[in-house]
């Protein structure tokens, strides 16, 4: 059972690949900065960024907590509202022609540009940040859920109707599970969009959060502090994405994308 380093490289593991690529990038970055010695104002070394974080870890963590809370809350609100809206759009001709048309039209304008409006409407507290996060995240959820709810085999619906299934049964036993793979695809995009929304909200009406931290550090030309916030955002975004990915694996063991692993266990 002794496994050498060679075996560790041969076996397939996404986690190992991600870690290796990250470690290599950081090493090249550190080496490049040491050799080429650019101004720390342009590009600080990873070691300098780490030292900067260690000077005030509590402050960074607090701001990270705020941004994380806004992102998660915005994402969850977008999820609940988006799915409800999608069900409405699929079941109502009227909603489809009004709300869906409007959503598709709105989707083509850069929504980030609307952020200042939310500050005018909602002030400079948490609300406008949450609103921007929800606004960005809700689009992929609605659009992908509508697509998923409509992807049901028409013969499955015929069979259910011939067996006298109720509208609720068709929604919960057929349409909704059928839409889950699409919904998760939307959620993966939405969770990143919610983070973008939270940061944009903090940019236009600061006070708290990593976005605000970036603005302050930029004002002081404190590049290492900008990088600390950026890296924390990167880590947070990655963890959020994999959290959704993990939820998908738990909820959809039956889906095509998951089957190879199961099949391997079976045979």
């Amino acid at each position: 059972m002794k496994r050498g380093i060679g075996d560790w490289f041969k076996t397939e593991s996404r986690t190992r690949d991600v870690l290796l690529v990250l470690a290599a990038s950081i090493a090249i970055w550190e080496l490049g900065v040491q050799v080429l010695a650019p101004s720390p104002l342009i590009l600080p070394a990873p070691s300098a960024i780490a030292r900067e974080f260690m000077t005030t870890p509590g402050i960074f963590i607090r701001h990270l907590g705020f941004t994380l809370a806004v992102t998660v809350a915005g994402f969850l609100l977008a999820l609940v509202m988006g799915v409800a809206l999608a069900v409405g759009i699929v079941y109502s001709r009227f909603l489809e022609r009004t709300v869906y048309t409007l959503l598709v039209a709105l989707n083509s304008i850069p929504k980030v540009a609307l952020a200042p409006l939310f500050v005018i409407w909602l002030g400079t507290g948490t609300e406008p940040k949450l609103a921007v996060a929800v606004m960005l995240a809700i689009f992929p959820i609605v659009i992908d859920t509508v697509l998923g709810l409509r992807s049901v085999d028409p013969d499955m619906l015929n069979l259910a109707r011939a067996s006298r299934a109720s509208a609720w049964q068709i929604l919960f036993k057929i349409r909704f599970p059928c839409a889950l793979p699409s919904l998760f695809a939307g959620m993966k995009v939405a969770v990143s969009f919610a983070l973008v929304g939270a940061i944009v909200g903090e940019f236009v009406a600061g006070g708290r959060g990593l976005g605000f931290q970036i603005l302050v550090a930029q004002g002081q030309f404190d590049t290492p502090r900008v990088f600390v916030s950026l890296l924390l955002l990167g880590i947070m975004g990655t963890i959020l994405f994999y959290a959704v990915d993990f939820a998908e694996r738990v909820c959809l063991p039956w889906h095509v994308s998951q089957r190879t692993q199961l099949a391997r266990l079976d045979h």
Binding site: D153, D155, M156, N158, L159, A160, R161, A162, S163, R164, A165, Q169, K173, I174, P177, C178, L252, W254, H255, V256, R259, A263, D266
Partner: protein, 261 residues
């Protein structure tokens, strides 16, 4: 078979028109047919002749545009009682096990799963799916999946079984297997079956009567009694009488220019 003369499904001058922007599409016209209780009746016809439309009308999924359609004496307005349906695609739900897929019929009809679980397992066993109850559809072959779909249709012991090209997507050997199994099940239970197919051989092998349909708009060209005694082993398909009946149907279609000889 004398007592089987009572009509279970009655269609009288049934017509079906789909309105469209390029003008109305006539799918069925002046369709008169009675399916007797306990009869196995097949409909053969070219693609697009309205066979599937007819089945959807009997199932109450599509309203008829003209004429009257009745099942068990009741005019069809929505899906009739005691109905089982099998389509060409098995439409099993990927997230349910085979057993749960079969039991969904009970859930739809508002019956308790616990009451029908034993029957579901017994049906699966009869169709050679014993031991596969907890598998998922994607772990099974096409033929096994279609067997499960038939079990689902039979779960609540329907009087009327509607089958729309159920074996059309299967390979020839699996198709033969399922033809044999279906006749066996039918002989035990004597359900009224409306079976739609492209295959003349399949129709003759399975049926008491074969209805030939013309190209759209769908009309009845002829109704052929299949007087081959049952039970019918697969080898009956090599018999003289079987050959006469299939070639009679094929000639008939050839005269109409539907098949080439």
């Amino acid at each position: 078979m004398a007592a089987a003369a009572e009509a279970y499904v009655t269609m009288s001058r049934v017509g079906k028109v789909y309105p469209s922007q390029q003008g109305d599409v006539v799918a069925l016209t002046d369709f008169d047919l009675e399916i007797r209780r306990g009869e196995f009746l097949s409909i053969v016809g070219p693609s697009g002749c309205g066979k599937s439309t007819l089945l959807k009308c009997v199932a109450g999924l599509e309203p008829v545009s003209a004429g009257t359609m009745a099942v068990n004496g009741q005019p069809v307005q929505g899906p009739p009682d005691q109905l089982g349906v099998v389509f060409q695609r098995d439409v099993l739900l990927d997230w349910r096990t085979i057993l749960d897929n079969v039991l969904i019929s009970a859930e739809f009809l508002g019956r308790r799963r616990a009451d029908l679980k034993a029957r579901a397992i017994e049906l699966l066993q009869r169709f050679g799916l014993g031991g596969f109850e907890d598998r998922h559809p994607w772990e099974l072959s096409g033929g096994m999946r279609q067997r499960a779909a038939i079990c689902r249709a039979l779960l609540c012991d329907p009087e009327l079984l509607l089958m729309d090209e159920p074996f059309g997507a299967l390979d020839a050997m699996t198709r033969d297997d399922l033809n044999v199994e279906l006749t066996r099940i039918w002989q035990d239970s004597r359900k009224t079956v409306l079976f739609i197919t492209h295959s003349i051989v399949e129709a003759v092998y399975l049926s008491d009567r074969v209805v030939m349909m013309s190209r759209a708009p769908g009309r009845i060209v002829d109704i052929i009694d299949i007087d081959i005694p049952r039970p019918r082993p697969l080898s009956v398909r090599e018999s003289k009488r079987f050959g006469e009946l299939t070639s009679k149907i094929r000639h008939h279609f050839a005269e109409l220019g539907i098949v080439k000889e």
